[in-house]
């Protein structure tokens, strides 16, 4: 398993739980879950690029 696959799986599982537990209606759960997933994966990509550029 690649590091990125691990990040995506982590984001997927955590986002599902966050979406269900932090919102009341199914539509808002879905939107919040997608929002959390994008934040997880997006921040991992941004931080990875920052670390890559610092290491050069």
């Amino acid at each position: 398993m690649t590091h990125f696959a691990a990040v995506v799986l982590f984001a997927l599982f955590a986002s599902i739980v966050f979406g269900i537990t932090q919102r009341n209606t199914p539509q808002r759960m879905l939107r919040y879950g997608i929002y959390c997933f994008l934040l997880f994966v997006g921040s991992a990509i941004v931080l990875s690029w920052i670390m890559y550029l610092i290491a050069r």
Binding site: M1, H3, A6, L9, F10, L12, F13, A14, I16, V17, F18, I20, T21, N24
Partner: protein
């Protein structure tokens, strides 16, 4: 109408903390007790998936503590309830991280426990009526 009333009666009757305790011991069980089948199934799949992925990545299951960080890891692992007990009894999980993905696996197992606690508290909030 009558069916809906029966559902509500079944969901609100009994021991107040049963969904909280059941949800902690078995992922999703708190929501199943409250007849939230879809939410319970998704929570169970997510938490079980994360826990199993952690084991598959040779993550460490904390059994004893040597410093403060180990205590935090053990507390997180205990959030998995019976999954933690079963993994210890069956000897699953690594005692020491020996492969690169092992660190990820250890975090997966700890976070699965923390997510399970969040799900159990959510079941309790549903039971008390704090959440719909």
């Amino acid at each position: 109408m009558a069916t809906e009333e029966n559902k509500n009666a079944a969901a609100t009757g009994g021991f107040l903390y049963l969904p909280l305790i059941a949800g902690w011991l078995v992922p999703g069980a708190g929501h199943f007790l409250l007849r939230k089948w879809g939410r319970g199934a998704l929570l169970a799949a997510s938490i079980l998936g994360m826990f199993v992925m952690g084991l598959a990545m040779h993550g460490k299951v904390y059994s004893n503590v040597h410093d403060m960080l180990d205590v935090l890891g053990l507390v997180g692992d205990l959030g998995n309830g019976l999954l933690f007990v079963a993994s210890r009894l069956l000897g699953l999980g690594a005692d020491q991280v020996q492969v690169t993905t092992g660190d990820y696996g250890t975090r997966f197992i700890v976070v699965a426990g923390l997510l399970n606690v969040i799900a159990a508290v959510d079941a309790h909030n549903l039971r008390t009526g704090r959440k719909q």
